[in-house]
Structures are given as structure tokens and as C-alpha cells.
């Protein structure tokens, strides 16, 4: 039996999920959300910017918040320095005196503690938002978000993330991945299936956060843990697909693997250790039936398919070497085509279905770019994503599985 056979069940699930995304994209709940207009309401808002060693980006982050299209009297920006050891505190202090900005310095206690302190210091706010100190927002992003809170069951609203000024190939590849995520979040949120409220520009109903007990460390993924806790408590998590926020991303493969390992391990630990009652549970709808089971399966399949491809590659190389050894290399390397004929077109079901899966992935990216109106070119991002992402991702999946099984705890950075 060929090793390839092992990949068929996972390919089936991958195709099913992509079809599910596209079918749901065309369903009424998603259409309604895409038709939503900018809100004219201006409730009291606090945006918390937790900071740890972000001296190079914090100024740009705050400047983008100050440029938000929102009444100044109803918007407070709370900068929380979580014991930075670089020049972050100094940069933050330059905003002291700016009417909308509050600057707080504290000892290092983790991102969740910085956000909790910011929430505590914003008693006037009806809604609180978070923005990582390496992210920048579009001026209309807040107005795009705030309308979703008209439904009192909505506990949080997430934004449409993409990469800030991607220049390197690895940034462009991540940009394509984030754009894919825009469609994913938009579609899945329409059926309340989100399991993470990302650090870049997610907003919460303040009394909801307090009622569920504030942010926890959450295995170094406090945003994911909070989302799961909200879902368990029965709150809805929405997504505003046109609320654009741009974030800085790792510029090297090791840094990317490190970041994604933290995300993946956080997902696995939260779901398996603390929220396993939600897996496959119809009570939690899309999250319980689709997102959590398939999220876990995606980790397994990512590793398995990578191992199968590598194993098959090695087997083919060894077999080829064994067969051709002793025969002059000049003959082996010489092309031996007799004719070009459709007869020899190497079409297999696995190949066709794999191409279909990738094509769907590209379609989902293009939809993400369109619905979010994210500017910029996506071509190189898509190409690098298609050809390289699948060979890099398994490394953080394998590393995460290792950390999970061995109990290894790694530093945030």
C-alpha cells in the first residue's frame, strides 16, 4: 500500500472544510454582515495597549489610534508598560499630556496582567479594546466594529488583520495567510464559531470581561483562552471584516516558527486541558462541532502529511539510486522522452484533489482581500504561501506536539 493512501482522509476533511466555508460565505448570516454599514453610535471606549519592549513600534501604534475617526471625548487610550527593559517606557512617556492618552508603568507580569490593569483603570468605558503595540489601525476601523455590539448577546468583536507593509517574502507569505484568515473569521463568526479574539484590535463589552473574571495567562495565549471562556459562558463573538488592522510579523523562519509554536501550543493546551468539554459538543454549535475538532485534526494532518511526503521523497530517491547505481550517470541524467502524448499525463485523484484544495485556498484569499478592501498586491504572497507554507508549518506543528507531550514551556519571545 502506498503511503499516499494515508493522506486521503485528511484531504477529504480539508475539502469538506473549504466547501463549508464557501457555502457559509454565500449564506444569509454572512451576507447580512457584509452589508452592514458604518455605525453612527459613539459609546465610551477605552483602547488598551499592553507593551513589553516595543520601543520601535509603539509610537506608530499610538499615532494610528489617535488618528481614529471617533469623538475624542469618548475615546481613551491606555498605554500599559509591562516592565519593558528597552526604551519603550521613554517613548510612552512622550504621550503624557496628550488628552486622550493614559500612561501606566508596572512590573512585568505578563500580557494578561497588563490588559487587566488597563481595564481596571477604565471604569468609564462601556467597551474596551486591545491593540498589540506592534499593530496599526485604519481610521474607520473602530466605527466598523462598534455597530456589531448592537446585539446585547455579543461579547466581543474581532477585526480584519493583515501584515503591515510586507516587504520580505516571509512577510508576504504571512500576509497571504492573514488575508485567508479574514475570510475564515468573517465566515465562521457568522455562525459564532470563533475561538480566538486576537490581540490586534479585538473589542469587548467591559462588564462581560469582568463577569467572566478578566484575562488569564491562558498558556501564553490569553486572547484564545478568553474567547473560549466567553463561548462557554454563552456570549457571541463577532467579526468586522472591513475593520482593518495591520500588524508586524516575524521576519525570519525561526522567529515565525517560535511565534506559531506559541499559538499552536496555546490552542492545544487550552482546548485539550481546559476546554475539552466543548470538543464535539453540539451545545457549542459551529465551535463545538466544526472548529475545535477540525482544529485538532489540522495539527495531526499537518504533521502526518508532511511526514508522508518526506518519507515518500526519500523512498523514491533511495529506489532511484538503487536502480541506477552502476549505470553511467550520463545515461541516467539524460532525458528519455520518446514523444509527448496525453497518454503519459500523470493525473491522479490525489493530484487533482490537492490542486482543487489549493485553488479553493487561493479563492478564499482573494475573497478576504475583496471583502476587507485590504490594499496592496497579493501575488507573491500567494505564490510563496502555496509553495513554502506547507513545508514550514509542520515544524511548528511538530514542535508544538513535542511541547505538549513533554510539558515543555517556552518563553514568549
Amino acid at each position: 500500500m502506498s503511503l499516499e493512501v494515508l493522506t486521503y482522509p485528511f484531504l477529504f476533511v480539508a475539502i469538506f472544510f473549504e466547501v463549508f466555508l464557501l457555502v457559509t460565505f454565500l449564506s444569509a448570516p454572512a451576507k447580512t454582515r457584509r452589508a452592514q454599514t458604518l455605525s453612527t453610535k459613539t459609546p465610551n471606549i477605552a483602547i488598551i495597549v499592553p507593551c513589553w519592549n516595543e520601543e520601535h513600534t509603539i509610537k506608530g501604534t499610538v499615532d494610528s489610534l489617535l488618528a481614529l475617526d471617533y469623538p475624542q471625548e469618548n475615546l481613551t487610550i491606555v498605554l500599559v508598560d509591562d516592565g519593558s527593559t528597552d526604551g519603550t517606557a521613554k517613548v510612552m512617556d512622550t504621550f503624557i499630556g496628550t488628552p486622550q492618552v493614559t500612561v501606566i508603568h508596572k512590573e512585568n507580569g505578563g500580557k494578561h496582567s497588563a490588559v487587566n490593569l488597563g481595564i481596571e483603570m477604565s471604569p468609564q468605558a462601556e467597551f474596551v479594546g486591545c491593540l498589540d503595540a506592534d499593530s496599526f489601525v485604519a481610521p474607520d476601523a473602530l466605527r466598523e466594529i462598534i455597530g456589531y455590539f448592537d446585539d446585547p448577546k455579543v461579547g466581543a468583536v474581532t477585526a480584519a488583520m493583515s501584515v503591515h507593509e510586507p516587504k520580505l517574502w516571509i512577510e508576504k507569505m504571512q500576509h497571504a495567510d492573514y488575508i485567508h484568515g479574514i475570510t475564515l473569521r468573517h465566515v465562521i463568526s457568522s455562525l459564532n464559531g470563533l475561538y480566538v479574539t486576537p490581540g490586534p484590535f479585538s473589542f469587548y463589552r467591559r462588564d462581560m470581561i469582568l463577569s467572566v473574571g478578566g484575562f488569564h495567562k491562558g498558556h501564553n495565549t490569553e486572547d484564545l483562552e478568553m474567547a473560549l471562556r466567553m463561548q462557554r459562558a454563552g456570549f457571541l463573538i463577532e467579526n468586522a471584516p472591513r475593520a482593518r488592522v495591520y500588524t508586524k510579523t516575524p521576519k525570519s523562519i525561526p522567529a515565525l516558527i517560535k511565534q506559531r509554536t506559541r499559538w499552536t501550543t496555546g490552542f492545544l493546551r487550552n482546548v485539550i486541558y481546559d476546554y475539552n468539554d466543548m470538543i464535539g459538543n453540539p451545545k457549542f454549535g459551529t465551535l463545538g462541532i466544526i472548529m475545535l475538532p477540525l482544529g485538532l485534526l489540522a495539527n495531526v494532518s499537518g504533521i502526518l502529511m508532511f511526514v508522508v511526503i518526506i518519507a515518500q521523497f526519500i523512498i523514491n530517491i533511495v529506489k532511484r539510486y538503487t536502480i541506477t547505481s552502476g549505470v553511467p550517470l550520463s545515461y541516467t541524467l539524460m532525458p528519455h522522452f520518446t514523444e509527448f502524448s496525453w497518454f503519459y499525463v500523470p493525473l491522479t485523484a490525489l493530484l487533482v484533489l490537492s490542486v482543487f484544495t489549493l485553488t479553493c485556498g487561493v479563492a478564499i484569499m482573494l475573497l478576504g482581500k475583496k471583502i476587507s478592501k485590504t490594499p496592496g498586491d497579493l501575488f507573491i504572497g500567494i505564490v510563496t504561501y502555496l509553495f513554502l507554507y506547507g513545508f514550514i508549518a509542520p515544524f511548528w506543528l511538530i514542535r508544538s506536539a513535542y511541547d505538549l507531550f513533554t510539558g515543555t514551556r517556552r518563553a514568549w519571545r
Partner: protein, 234 residues
């Protein structure tokens, strides 16, 4: 029914239909390959009859018409046999060695090879020619898989490098009366790979250098014109 359940059912149905369609289409393509092979096979049967007739007509003709290494190869089953061999080998990889249609085509192909071999022998005897003919017996079973693959590759190399070598490859386990008779006539033992090189049996394959020692030394000093069948396993 909730939108979630409805979308799950719709997506599942679409996925099943999609995958079924792709599998069906690929299977259909493979069947078309077999159909093309059958078409070519029919053409070759006609051609074989034509060649036999040609030989019968030329039986009393001067042997100068069959100088070794030139017109003999051109008048016998030529490049088309080689092409169908390639296609048959490719189809066997796709459909598997036990596919009934593949087995049937291999039977027909084997008959063509045997017929060509007999004609070559008759011509050599009549005209006192001395071609280097290799009968290669392999098996697809596990006992010879790797060694037979290596032997096939080495034979392909020799055939392409020294075009005067004529190679006929046979699947030993094919249940074909003519092949069994050939195996008996050539006294082939069930040890693989097995070779008959200019009527002398050899068994096993270690490496190309040792294998070449079984051929006439003069063969590697010169090289002649085109040849016929390939050494790839069919």
C-alpha cells in the same frame, strides 16, 4: 433545520460528489489509456501479419536484402512495438499488475514479442546472420522486485547504447501457453532475473560491469544501427 446543520449537509454532499467525480474521471482516463492500447494492439496485429507475409514472400529472395543491423530491424516489428511497450508499462503502473485488461494486453504483447523473436531467428538462420539477442525473464513478485528493476534499467542502458542488441522481456508468471513453451524450450529455471543471451542461460544480476561480461566482447567495440523492443518490464 439550523443554518449550521444545513450547511454541513450541503458541504458534505458537495464534497462526496466532487471527490466521486474526480475519482470517476481519473478512472475513465485510465480506461481510455487501455482503450488506446487496444487500438494500437489491433494495428500491430495487422502489422505482424503483414510482416509474416513479407517474410514468406521474401523467403526465396537473396539474403543481401537483410544485411545485419539495417533492414532486418526496419522490416520487423519496429518502433511501434517499443512505443506500446512503454505505454503498457505505464498503464501497468497506473492500473496495477493484476488488472484484467492489463494482463490481457500483456498476453497479446508477449505473443508479438515471441513472434518477432521467431522471425528474427529464422532470418538469422537462413541468412547466416549473428544478431545479439537477449531474452529477459522477470517477475513482478517481491522475490525479484528490486533486482529485476535494476536489471531492466541496465538492459535499457545497453540497448540504447549498443543498438545492435535485441532485447525481448517477458513476465515469467504470465499465464500464456506460448510463453510457457518458450520457457521450456529455452530451459528457463524459476530464478530471477533470468537471461538468455545468444542461447545461453544466465541467472541473477549484480551490477552492470559483471553483466556485460555475458555478452560477446566484440559487441562493445562497435555499435550498429537501430533495434526493436525495449527492456522495460511490461
Amino acid at each position: 433545520m439550523s443554518i449550521l446543520n444545513r450547511n454541513i449537509i450541503i458541504s458534505f454532499v458537495i464534497t462526496v460528489v466532487l471527490i466521486s467525480t474526480v475519482v470517476y474521471a481519473i478512472n475513465y482516463l485510465n480506461q481510455k489509456r487501455v482503450a488506446e492500447l487496444s487500438t494500437i494492439e489491433n494495428q500491430l496485429s495487422t502489422e505482424t501479419l503483414s510482416v509474416e507475409t513479407q517474410y514468406a514472400l521474401l523467403e526465396n529472395a537473396p539474403c543481401e536484402n537483410f544485411t545485419q543491423g539495417s533492414s532486418t530491424e526496419d522490416t520487423l516489428l519496429s518502433q511501434e512495438v517499443s512505443d506500446i511497450g512503454d505505454k503498457l508499462s505505464y498503464t501497468e503502473d497506473k492500473l496495477g499488475i493484476k488488472d484484467p485488461q492489463v494482463v490481457q494486453l500483456k498476453n497479446q504483447y508477449t505473443l508479438l514479442e515471441i513472434r518477432d523473436y521467431i522471425l528474427t531467428q529464422q532470418l538469422a538462420k537462413t541468412c547466416h546472420l549473428n544478431p545479439t539477442v537477449v531474452l529477459y525473464f522477470y517477475t513482478n513478485s517481491g522475490e525479484c522486485k528490486d533486482t529485476c528493476d535494476r536489471a531492466s534499467y541496465a538492459l535499457s542502458y545497453l540497448r540504447q547504447t549498443y543498438p545492435s542488441i535485441r532485447v525481448y522481456s517477458f513476465d515469467y508468471n504470465l499465464n500464456l501457453g506460448a510463453l510457457k513453451t518458450l520457457e521450456q524450450v529455452e530451459k528457463i529455471q524459476p530464478q530471477f532475473p533470468a537471461f538468455v543471451i545468444n542461447h545461453k542461460q544466465y541467472y541473477g544480476f549484480t551490477n552492470l560491469t559483471d553483466f556485460q561480461k555475458n555478452f560477446p566482447a566484440s559487441l562493445f567495440a562497435t555499435s550498429t544501427a537501430a533495434t526493436s523492443t525495449k527492456a522495460t518490464k511490461k
